[in-house]
Amino acid sequence: MQGISTVLVTVESQESMQARPPRALAPRGYGAGHSFVRPNDVALQCRILSDALELIEHPPEPGTLVIRDYS
């Protein structure tokens, strides 16, 4: 099997999805420079990273953008 499993964390989903990434996670309501939302919020940033990796282990349909609330 060729290739490497990837997941994209994006806050610019419209632009990102033009490249048709296999899996993508977008925190809802945050802009550029805030892919992991808030500085020094270790628990929240770990949760976002875990959610992204979860999309690799238990993937939705190829090309799916998952939008989540992280307020």
């Binding site: 296999p22 420079g33 808030r38 270790v42 770990c46 990796l53 690799i56």
Partner: protein, 138 residues
């Protein structure tokens, strides 16, 4: 400009092992570098940087003029979650990390990025043998 490979189909590679056994890598376009490596040219740069996974976010810098910096000025994990990956290793939720992560800088020369930079970068990524790659932008 969509990449040729993804124009008609979505590249898809399933994870070969459980996440708790997987080696994970970060690849970013956020202009991250590890001094004394030189910063990126913020007006346009086709090079990339290796980021040792042994360092912390506090030891890294960014060179960018195209995304807001309020979050990264306080915590580089906002765009490059290197410390959070370490957390997940410590919690045994992933198997480990590759020796190096990678970052590119800003460029609008997307064709050159695709034709010149990406093949070399991908070869380096493959050499690191990651099971999973988390991609981030600025």
């Amino acid at each position: 400009m969509p990449l040729d490979l993804s124009r008609y189909c979505i590249p898809w590679t399933p994870l070969r092992r459980k996440l708790l056994d997987a080696t994970v890598m970060l690849v970013s376009t956020a202009g991250i570098y590890h001094p004394p490596d030189p910063p990126f040219d913020v007006e346009g740069d086709l090079s990339y940087r290796r980021i040792p996974s042994s360092v912390t976010a506090a030891e890294l810098r960014y060179a960018d003029a195209h995304y807001p910096h309020d979050c990264v000025d306080a915590d580089l994990n906002c765009v490059f979650p290197i410390d959070r990956l370490t957390n997940l290793v410590r919690e045994e939720r992933i198997g480990g990390v590759t020796e190096f992560h990678f970052s590119t800088g800003f460029t609008m020369a997307l064709r050159d990025l695709r034709d010149q930079t990406v093949p070399v970068l991908v070869a380096e990524v493959v050499q690191q043998r990651p099971d999973a790659v988390v991609l981030t932008g600025g």
